[in-house]
């Protein structure tokens, strides 16, 4: 069984993340989407909130597991018997950072391969920090996140 992990901060999960997840599902027998604990400096959502939003958003997919981890991602991959780390590539700036991470991870554990997938081009400009920014300024993020995340974001930002 080919297992892949899809690690990230997911603060919050966006439709771009779900797009990558769906592509990974077609390629692997199991995909573990996993929240990197403590990776965000000042997260908008707690780890538990982020996990909750992911669980609801991915409920409709089979073969997907939701988890969180701390420490090095390659150690986590080894514990999960994963052969691949899935990452989305949207832009050049992604590319450089991701290449650096992939090479370093390979140096630390060369049995896990980083696999890059490209999201639908309509998600080129989409990332969690832009979504948070727009939500804070009361802009409409309905098209960018799953419905449950949309409701959660409205709740969070209306109380500010």
């Amino acid at each position: 069984m080919k297992i892949a992990i899809y690690p990230g901060t997911f603060d919050p999960i966006t439709n771009g993340h779900l797009d990558i997840l769906e592509r990974a599902i077609k390629l692997f027998d199991k995909v573990i989407i996993t929240v990197a604990r403590n990776s965000a400096k000042n997260p908008m959502f707690t780890e538990e909130e982020r996990l909750d939003m992911i669980r609801t958003a991915v409920r409709r997919y089979k073969k997907v597991e939701v988890d969180s981890f701390t420490g090095l991602v390659v150690d986590y991959a080894r514990r999960k018997k994963a052969t691949a780390i899935v990452r989305g590539l949207r832009a050049i700036s992604d590319f450089e950072y991701e290449m650096q991470m992939a090479l370093m991870n390979r140096n630390l554990n060369d049995e896990v391969e980083t696999v890059f997938l490209m999201p639908n081009e309509k998600y080129t400009y989409l990332n969690s920090s832009i979504v948070r920014e727009i939500a804070i300024h009361k802009g409409n993020v309905k098209n960018f996140v799953p419905p449950n995340v949309y409701r959660k974001l409205k709740q969070k930002t209306s109380s500010q």
Copy 2:
């Protein structure tokens, strides 16, 4: 009448900003240079100081209005009946960030077009944070900013 807005942090305004502004003036009937409030984490200059420096620096241009705004830039553009957001493009790193912003802004309001202009190549390396950095280290920034900003920077950094 074609109206463009030129939004930024302008902490402080540099000769590179003025170069872009002059190019925008040739293309539009009115250009509103507008300070994004709260956009800088720890600005060197207060919003009022930044507006003052801009007002003095652009006094010689006709067709230019100075303003500030908060919230989403596309909402501000709509209120001002602007059809264009002007942005300077100097380098690849600018390009990626600006493309992301432009696409997101279009998604939020597709009636405002982002227009990219290229500054004189002598301003390729110039940005406000480098100017602040040099000024703090008592380097000479006379060639990089308008005279009134130069005086203000000297004042600010000599008292440190």
Copy 3:
């Protein structure tokens, strides 16, 4: 009256070109879309065929003129009393080449400003040479070009 020129090889014109043209129309009083003669090494379509396809494709737009030119684009702009050269920016590779051209053109004539517009992100991957490539391999290019260009491409490639 603000006049812009939109120069290119247009071998053939694609929906990405039309997307940029529509954005330029909103910003200027007149836009001249103009075929750079002799710019393509081995064009698939003759200059006359390219002009014909453009004329049909842009018929529905007001304020648009179709033309062709030879020589330096800045000299052509001057003759047409244009204040702007419109260019689409889709990717980093575009950016470098376009920046180089824009700076060189400004050096040759600093009264014409190059204005960069961003196409809809669904056209990020679209250019004339990919369209030709797919058409030659009998792939379906219906979504990438105007209907009249689609018919012309089928005709051209079926006879090969």
Copy 4:
């Protein structure tokens, strides 16, 4: 069974190609390395020579099939029941071209996913055209290509 294709010109196959192939083997049940016929303008090696060199170089791998194709790569993938197109990503310039190809291919057939893998960093600078260039100038390419390709290159270039 998960099948991937690894298309390319392979004029000639290098150690960088083999590095990517080995990574793909770990991720898929079968990998078809396939020569794009007529893709090179003036190939150094004929299609048959390139296929021969690949066959010898990949003999030691199980789960690998060697083939060639003409026409669109997505049509070929469909015929082979492949769910993935494997591509190596070494540099930014690769990235832009590959992203464009991947998005266009997805538009033509959204059931095949392009999967990007990163070669060992020692192959960052390696590509077939540099290998040909060095071989023509009698430089030593022993470290860059499999032994059978090395012999073939020496033979080819000594007769010039």
Copy 5:
């Protein structure tokens, strides 16, 4: 005598830094490796610790001097009678930032030339912040830093 300075934060010095230093030594009569004081926001190591680690790591090189500085790097270069500032270039993101710095430094003092050297490709992915990150997560950084830095990092992170 041709003198070069090699400025940086060195928090801590890595094998990638030593690789660049060795290349610089071949080109110049004296190389001063110099710690930019106060350049790091929240350094892991104090200035004195960083200098100590560098001193031990470079002990085997002749023609190398270890120092630290504050203020503008070009002013420091002038005081040291250096004709060159040495910088390593690993990636595109380095390139843009370094180009900006080099051009600004030239503007402030055009008698000092910035000289870019390329590290061994095995150090492409290596920088001090990744080393710190891995060390904090108890990953093995033995291959990335000199032995004395490795010991110091273990000490520092085991007490956390």
Copy 6:
């Protein structure tokens, strides 16, 4: 004595090349500017014409030798006892190609270091092919090339 070579096609030599040459002169005891024979597909100028133009243009510099070579640049460097290959870096696209070449050259001969210098930013957009293009279209290239090259270009293009 530190010797550097500055290889290129120089079809023709531009002010940007001279700018890099002058910077190299400050860093090395001797700089050999050397024409790569047969490197250009369809050069505008013959090897002899290119060498003539360089000889006239660099007459005012001491410590400069003019030469040409064929074969691998690292073999040429070895014959000339050079420790450095000088290259200008103007843009990202330069960077990727130059990095690839530098790494390959180092692999072929690790005793020669590639040294990257940055030209004055006013030459960012300047290269020989743009100069040829403008000259062919009767544009004014006076600011881009040395006087003797300007005369030669006029001569060459007026007869066409």
